[in-house]
């Protein structure tokens, strides 16, 4: 049974990202950079109503704007729009300026309808229904369950705490907005897509446009980030295709930053009323959660895996979706773990305070996972827990310091077992490995080169890697932290098959390393093409597996006069089975932490309940972590080759918000119950200003 080699030259070492030279020189062409011959600029007109019936759209004047080549409605009329920003019409023309003029010339006749954009408004009995005839609130059977005897268990506890922990709607905001350059002719449709899933993107064109899959080709050589929001087929892609068909030219249609906040996904909010109790020795005994959240107009996941990584013998969980007139949620890095981790880990620290226990001890007492137990001990050592931990609120002075920790687990999908790939090996020894996956910035191309180089005894730079084309053998979408675990065993298999074929055709027993060129030369004039697919390998030492664990510690300073939280340091301890490339892995963990820090401190989509619009559809008012906010980050990786390859993109972002929230609690001795932990909320928790949020449990 195949398994990874014990001694490695490239695997688990640091290999420089193979496509970095293109990215640092501007030669990397993203979907938004494609300049297909005769290309036109495309733009979308979006609803300015959060709910309306659109009875007429007049495109006559629009089509007269100089330079405009086509204008279409998004749907057949009458159209019911259910959120501010829903697509109404689209135009394409020779220049961006012509399109801007054209959008202004579109005449829309609409009848505005009542709407509700905030969860608490939508929950009211007399709230306008987002979907006709369907209540806005629906209790989730999947997200609701009960075990043990909860009502009996609480009185048995030595300490019980209750808290109403809330998390906001978070926006993905990848640096490259959603969009495509699409060319649709009689020969078929080609889309250069900014996507995390070329296969799903292809199906997302073929379905609505009634094309055979074989008529659609999706190409993604480079893409500027997605974080879960680019896994789907897209309305904007289909509009670009229809414009291309009508204008008989390729159309580049990228969303504006403004559009990006409205219609292409978000992380659902959560409003978690938690009650948790423990016995005198700290053993968790009873848990109750009543949670609701909004996935906007969609039925997306609001169900949280509570009580997260802890086992509580008596627990009751009730969860509900609340529909509001806002853009649909989509998968967002580790859905739906970050809100679950934040609230549960906050409740753990609140409970520890009530018990008079060290919160790290409470975790070690109740977390049965051996890997995390080890990670907690390593992390505690690195952050200096023993020396730095003090009772909540006991830090002296105006600027108070505190530390906190939180844990994570990510099962995800493990790997896509249907991942395939091939390689063409030429008589001159050059080799091209092709997989129908895409590199979303995680280093997928580099992983392929590293694995192939290791298996063939070559150098990574000798491997030509081709991904991001639906003409290649099918691979998975880059979601669920499954890509690395899907492609690594696949490349392993391709290489094993290549070596076997080379042995047969060349008569050279071992074609690796020094023998490579001699063996390839024996191919004569015909290159060798070999296929491979995902393999589990030896079950006791699999080529890939799941889940991954991880813990993070945060050290913060809180200015009790301004309420400002500064993260000074994050210690992250993570495992992901067999490490493929340490350097790009480190980048992903940094990224997970920094995104998690944004979730903890800065990010929140704000809706205006009176007008129904998104109030912060830009980077001035939707705050991302900036370079000046980034703390010292110290990463420790557990390399566990016997577990095979496991993805890391998602586990790295889960624990951050909980760790920071607990460090803030530790510093000021008061709980901030809502993310993001803004200065106003800190001051409110300290009793210095009235509460910031209007939401009541």
């Amino acid at each position: 049974m195949p398994s990874w080699p014990e001694k490695t030259k490239y695997i688990s070492k640091s290999t420089l990202r193979i496509d970095a030279p293109e990215k640092v020189t501007g030669r990397a062409h993203y979907a938004s950079d494609i300049q297909a011959a005769g290309w036109l600029y495309g733009m979308i007109l979006r609803s300015k109503w959060p709910a309306a019936t659109i009875s007429a759209i007049n495109l006559e004047k629009t089509l007269q704007v100089p330079g405009i080549k086509a204008a279409i409605t998004a749907k057949d009329l009458p159209q019911t729009v259910r959120f501010y920003g829903e697509e109404i019409a689209a135009v394409c023309g020779a220049t961006k300026q012509a399109c801007l003029d054209a959008l202004r010339a579109i005449e829309v006749t609409a009848h505005a309808l009542p709407f509700a954009v905030r969860e608490d408004d939508a929950k009211k009995d007399d709230a306008p229904q987002v979907w006709d005839g369907k209540p806005n609130v629906s209790v989730s059977a999947r997200g609701s369950r009960e075990q043990g005897a909860v009502d009996q268990a609480f009185p048995e506890c030595a300490a019980v705490i209750e808290g109403f922990y809330t998390t906001p709607v978070q926006l993905h905001n990848p640096m490259e907005t959603h969009g495509n350059t699409v060319s649709w002719t009689d020969d078929g449709l080609t889309a250069w897509a900014s996507t995390q899933a070329i296969s799903a993107s292809r199906d997302g064109f073929a379905g609505p446009l009634k094309l055979d899959h074989s008529q659609v080709r999706v190409i993604t050589n480079f893409m500027g980030g997605g974080f879960g929001s680019k896994l789907n087929g897209s309305v904007e892609g289909v509009l670009a295709a229809r414009l291309s068909r009508e204008a008989k030219a390729p159309v580049r249609l990228m969303l504006t930053r403004f559009d990006e906040a409205l219609a292409v996904g978000n992380r659902p909010s959560s409003f978690q009323k938690i009650k948790i109790g423990a016995l005198a020795d700290g053993t968790l005994h009873a848990f109750e959660l009543d949670n609701y959240g909004t996935p906007g107009i969609s039925g997306g996941d609001v169900e949280l895996p509570q009580p997260y990584i802890y086992k509580v013998p008596n627990s009751r969980v009730k969860q509900a979706h609340v529909a509001v007139n806002a853009g649909a949620s989509r998968a967002f890095r580790a859905p739906p773990h970050p809100p679950a981790s934040y609230a549960m880990e906050s409740a753990m620290d609140d409970l520890a305070a009530k018990l008079g226990m060290d919160p790290l001890e409470l975790r070690l007492k109740n977390d049965s996972n051996e890997v995390r137990q080890r990670e907690y001990k390593i992390g505690a050592e690195k952050i200096g827990w023993k020396e730095k931990y003090q009772k909540p609120g006991s830090s002296p002075g105006v600027v108070k310091t505190g530390i906190g920790c939180a844990g994570a687990a990510w099962g995800g999908g493990g790997a896509s077992k249907r991942t395939q790939g091939d390689a063409q090996i030429n008589p001159d020894g050059s080799i091209e490995v092709r997989l129908g996956v895409q590199d979303i910035g995680t280093g997928t191309k580099t992983v392929i080169a590293v694995v192939a180089a290791e298996m063939l005894g070559l150098k990574p730079e000798q491997i030509t890697v081709k991904v991001g084309d639906t003409n290649f053998p099918p691979g998975p979408g880059s979601g669920g932290s499954t890509t690395c675990a899907s492609i690594s065993p696949t490349v392993f298999d391709i290489c094993a098959n290549a070596l076997q074929q080379l042995q047969t055709q060349s008569g050279i027993a071992d074609a690796r390393g020094n023998n490579w060129f001699a063996a390839c030369k024996k191919l004569g004039v015909t290159p060798l093409v070999v296929h491979g697919q995902w393999q589990q390998g030896d079950p006791s030492r699999p080529l890939s597996s799941s889940p991954a664990y991880g813990v993070q510690f945060a050290e913060v300073a809180v200015d009790t006069e301004t309420g400002l939280v500064t993260v000074k340091k994050i210690v992250a301890v993570h495992d992901c089975g067999l490490i493929i490339d340490t350097l790009t892995l480190e980048s992903q963990i940094n990224g997970g932490i920094i995104m998690g820090m944004g979730y903890a401190l800065y990010e929140e989509r704000v809706m205006d309940d009176l007008s129904g619009v998104v109030l912060n559809p830009n980077f001035e008012t939707y705050k991302l972590s900036g370079i000046g906010d980034v703390p010292e980050i110290e990463i420790t990786l557990l390399n566990m080759p016997e577990r095979g390859v496991i993805g890391i993109g998602e586990p790295a972002t889960i624990a951050t918000a909980g760790a920071i929230a607990n460090a803030v609690f530790n510093a000021i001795g008061a709980r901030v119950y809502s993310l993001p932990i803004t200065p106003a909320r800190v001051l409110a928790a300290l009793g210095k200003v009235p509460p910031f949020t209007a939401v009541k449990p």
Binding site: G26, I579, Q588, E620
Partner: protein
């Protein structure tokens, strides 16, 4: 470092100011009504450009780009949509993300906030202009070495900001790097490596604190 001649700035902004004043504001100014009116008349008598396309000559990476552009076209759009220079990226089109950063006479600017017609006569350097004879610049090389990029979309902007910093300050501190990159956003969260890359490009010794424990 080249700076724009003050007269030019004055002339340009005065004209723009007067044009934006409008009749009401101009007549409301009591002290210098006469001279303002005269200036206004003079400014209006000057040839206005647009709204149609006008010839624009840009000097980008030492080469002349001769384009026909509406005056409202930004430098970023001129490069990305009217030439093959797509290295500078559009992330927001409103001066908040820095993905479009280029050097204008060695100073970093958001190219989405400059009109192409304003950029005439200036030396513009984009990410495509940094490597010489196929050799990466020290900043580009350091970004590669330290893995200071993930999806890579913000990378050209960060590299231009760091390049501008090192021209002005060859040996920056980490805080100075942060300050120089404060106008650039990265959603992948590559910042720690960007700081390392900037320091490495300045010749400082950089080490990673990451520890791998082989279980």
């Amino acid at each position: 470092m080249k700076n724009t001649e003050p007269e030019k700035i004055g002339a340009h902004s005065r004209r723009a100011f007067l044009k934006s004043l409008g009749t009401v504001a101009a007549t409301a100014a009591t002290a210098q009504v006469q001279s303002v009116a005269a200036e206004l008349e003079k400014a209006n008598a000057e040839k206005t450009v647009g709204p149609g396309a006008v010839p624009v000559t840009l000097t980008v990476n030492g080469e002349k780009l001769e384009l026909m552009l509406e005056p409202r076209v930004t430098l970023l759009d001129a490069m990305r949509n009217y030439s093959s220079l797509t290295g500078a990226k559009e992330g927001c089109d409103r001066a908040t993300c820095g993905a479009c950063t280029v050097l204008m006479d060695e100073l970093p600017v958001y190219s989405c906030q400059k009109l192409a017609i304003e950029a005439q006569g200036r030396e513009i350097t984009t990410i495509e202009g940094l490597a010489q004879n196929g050799k990466l610049s020290p900043v580009q090389q350091a970004f590669w070495d330290r893995d200071a990029l993930q999806c890579g979309y913000c990378t050209p902007g960060f590299i231009m900001s760091v390049t501008a910093l090192l021209k002005k300050n060859p040996h920056p501190t980490p805080d100075q790097v942060k300050h120089a990159c404060a106008g650039n956003l990265c959603r992948c969260g590559t910042h720690p490596h960007i700081i390392q890359a900037a320091l490495q490009a300045s010749g400082a010794k950089v080490t990673s604190k990451t520890e791998v424990i082989h279980a």
